[in-house]
Every structure is written in structure tokens, then in C-alpha cells.
């Protein structure tokens, strides 16, 4: 009976966001039932796959209804938010494991959260200032996060050259902050005495592959993944060393290319991801 089929198709249609379903849901359901045979009781695989893919794209606001440049800039924006959240999680880790809260740590955490918030509210210049202040403070205390450096570089690119016009994003995006903390420190806490470094190389490759798959749905995902890989490359080759613990100790910035094969793999993966993102974006935004 078509009622059973209608119920089942309605369940699949939940892939679409509520606002879309309110406006187009009935129309879509009508078309689905029209294309179904009279005795059909289960959604066809072809139709269900198409609904899920397009529904998820609509949820991600995957930019298929915006010009490519806007999608690129949005991808970079999300990348900045994730990079800043990752750097924030690193600071959080330092604070927690050292079990001593220096005043500079509190300032760092505040600067971090503020800069993430400002990016979400759509102000790249203000975010650049805050993130730069955070980085300056890190240099002063001799622990530089290369994820933060990458975020500052991207923000500088956006503020001075690309100049996007961003709409304010929902503050609920701040959820990435606890998520990043869980991602970074979860393996430590779960594994206990077994040493599981959160920067494990296998996890990076797996994540890169997952992002290539994610490119099927959302062209911003590969761009975001490439930005994270750039941070990882910087972390591998750049060394920020200090000769002592006081702010006035000599600091040095070194480039260490001993693990160049790994860097090459990361760079190649990042380039491929950017290419995949760009090609998918062109395809999804074309008529």
C-alpha cells in the first residue's frame, strides 16, 4: 500500500533540513510516490541514495547554490575555526596536565575563545588581531602552536587579499572547541598507560582519505582537510626552540627537513585534496 511506502519515504526524507522539508517535502514525496510502482513497499535504493546525498548537501549548506569563490572562502573560514580550536585544545592540554594555571594561560584561553567567536561572527580583521596577539603571547612563553600559525596565515590572506563578506554564523559552532579537546586528548585518557600519541600518523592519513570521501558531499571538506595538513607540515619541519625558560631567553626558528619523505606525502595529499575540492566545487556549482 502506498501509505506504507509514503511513511518509509518520509523517514528517508529526514535527511533534508527541516526548513527544506517544510517547503518542498510534500512535493518531493509526491514525486517519489508517482515514480514508484503500485505494489512497491520499500524505497528504491537509487531514490533513497539520491535523497540522502542531496539532503546532507542541503544540511551542510554545501554551497551548491553559491558561486565557487564564496564556497572557497567559506571553506577557509571553517578551516580557521578548526585550526584555532585545535590550538586551543593544545593550550587546554598544557594547562590541565601541568595542573598549574599561570596567568598567561588564562589570557591565552580567553584570547583563543574570543578569536574563534569573532571568526564565527564574520570579522576576519578582528580575528586576525586577536589570533596574532595569541601567537605573540605564545612566542613570549616559548610554546608555538603551528596550527595557530597556519590559522594566522590564512586569516592574513583573508583580511588583506581575499576580503570576504561573511555572514555571522551560529554561535553553536563553538561546539568544535570541546570536540577538538576530545579528539586531541581522548586517546590519552582512554589508552591510559599505553602511549597513544594524538598526532599519530596513521590517523592523519585515515582522516585525509575520509575527507576525500567527504568531498563527494561537500567541496569545503577537502579544503578544510588541506589546511589542517598544512599545519601538520609546519609542525613537522619547523622548530621553535628556546635556550631557557624565561621570556628573555634566546629563541631560534629552525627548519628541519629530516623527515622530508613524510612532509612530501603530506604536501602531496594536501595538494590532491585542494584539487578535489576545487573540481567538485566547479561541478556542483555549474548548471
Amino acid at each position: 500500500m502506498s501509505d506504507v511506502l509514503a511513511r518509509r519515504y518520509r523517514a528517508v526524507l529526514r535527511a533534508y533540513p527541516r526548513s527544506y522539508r517544510a517547503g518542498r517535502g510534500d512535493e518531493l514525496l509526491g514525486t517519489l510516490l508517482d515514480t514508484a510502482s503500485p505494489q512497491q513497499r520499500w524505497p528504491s535504493v537509487h531514490e533513497a541514495a539520491s535523497i540522502v546525498a542531496e539532503g546532507l548537501r542541503a544540511r551542510l549548506d554545501a554551497g551548491t547554490r553559491r558561486p565557487p569563490r564564496a564556497v572557497w572562502l567559506d571553506g577557509l573560514r571553517v578551516a580557521v575555526v578548526l585550526l584555532l580550536a585545535y590550538a586551543h585544545a593544545e593550550v587546554m592540554g598544557d594547562v590541565v596536565w601541568r595542573a598549574v594555571s599561570a596567568r598567561s594561560d588564562i589570557v591565552l584561553l580567553l584570547l583563543a575563545l574570543l578569536s574563534i567567536l569573532v571568526v564565527l561572527r564574520g570579522r576576519p580583521v578582528a580575528a586576525l588581531l586577536l589570533a596574532s596577539a595569541w601567537l605573540a603571547l605564545q612566542v613570549w612563553t616559548h610554546t608555538v602552536s603551528w596550527h595557530l600559525v597556519t590559522a594566522v596565515l590564512i586569516l592574513a590572506l583573508l583580511a588583506f587579499w581575499l576580503r570576504p563578506v561573511w555572514q555571522a554564523r551560529s554561535v553553536s559552532w563553538l561546539i568544535v572547541v570541546p570536540v577538538m579537546i576530545a579528539v586531541q586528548h581522548g586517546p590519552w585518557i582512554v589508552a591510559g598507560p599505553v602511549y597513544l600519541h594524538p598526532h599519530t600518523n596513521v590517523a592523519i592519513i585515515v582522516a585525509a582519505v575520509a575527507c576525500a570521501v567527504g568531498a563527494l558531499l561537500d567541496p569545503r571538506v577537502p579544503i578544510i582537510a588541506a589546511s589542517m595538513l598544512v599545519a601538520e607540515i609546519l609542525r613537522t619541519i619547523m622548530w621553535f626552540a628556546s635556550a631557557g625558560d624565561t621570556p628573555s631567553s634566546v629563541v631560534a626558528l629552525r627548519v628541519d627537513l629530516r623527515s622530508w619523505p613524510w612532509v612530501l606525502v603530506l604536501a602531496a595529499t594536501a595538494s590532491i585534496l585542494v584539487l578535489i575540492g576545487h573540481l567538485r566545487m566547479r561541478r556542483l556549482t555549474s548548471l
Partner: protein, 113 residues
């Protein structure tokens, strides 16, 4: 440039407004079975074409308690699909019309000494 599914959706609407299911059937027929649209894909295409102002909703009725919308070409949509058809026809002629191909090629050929 139009991708094949969009081209056939626009072509399907050349003879008057249609709704979702009929568009899918007509696109299948017009493309000789090479473009088979699932409902999700169709509506994504309709959204893109509406954003580009090539089609618009012209009528809405209630069938079986559900909304059914009819889509039609805008003047820009008619122009776009006809321009694409002309482009495709010119590209096809290069293959099917030998004399035309020779004329075009000879203008660029390097003749042997």
C-alpha cells in the same frame, strides 16, 4: 554551458509547464534513456535552474493532500537551452559534415612541401 541533465530538463519544459514526475519521464524519453533522474537529483537541478532564473514555478495544486508544483521556462531559460542546442549542433556538424570539416581544417593545416 549546460550539463546534460540540466539541458534535458530545460528541453523537457519547452512545450509547456510540467511537474516533477512528468519531468523525470520526459527527460528519460528525450535523452534516449541516458539521463535517468532520481527525485533528489531532479529537485537539486530544479533549485539550481531556479536560482539561475532559467525556470520558475507557475502553478501549484493539491493532489492527494500534497502540493504539486508546475515548472516552466523563463524567457532567459528558453534562450539558454536554444543557445546550448545551437552550440551542440555546430559541434556535431564538424563530425557529420565532411566538407565543412575540411574547410575548417584547411585554414589551419600546414601543407607539405
Amino acid at each position: 554551458m549546460l550539463r546534460a541533465p540540466s539541458y534535458f530538463v530545460l528541453a523537457a519544459l519547452l512545450d509547456g509547464p510540467l511537474h516533477g514526475y512528468v519531468i523525470i519521464k520526459r527527460v528519460d524519453a528525450l535523452s534516449g534513456g541516458s539521463v535517468r533522474l532520481a527525485a533528489g537529483t531532479l529537485y537539486a537541478i530544479l533549485d539550481r535552474l531556479t536560482d539561475a532564473a532559467l525556470i520558475e514555478v507557475v502553478n501549484e495544486e493539491v493532489v492527494n493532500g500534497r502540493a504539486r508544483r508546475y515548472y516552466a521556462l523563463t524567457p532567459e531559460g528558453t534562450d539558454a537551452v536554444q543557445a546550448e542546442a545551437a552550440r551542440l549542433a555546430a559541434a556535431a556538424k564538424i563530425v557529420t559534415n565532411r566538407a565543412l570539416r575540411r574547410r575548417t581544417v584547411n585554414a589551419t593545416a600546414v601543407s607539405p612541401a
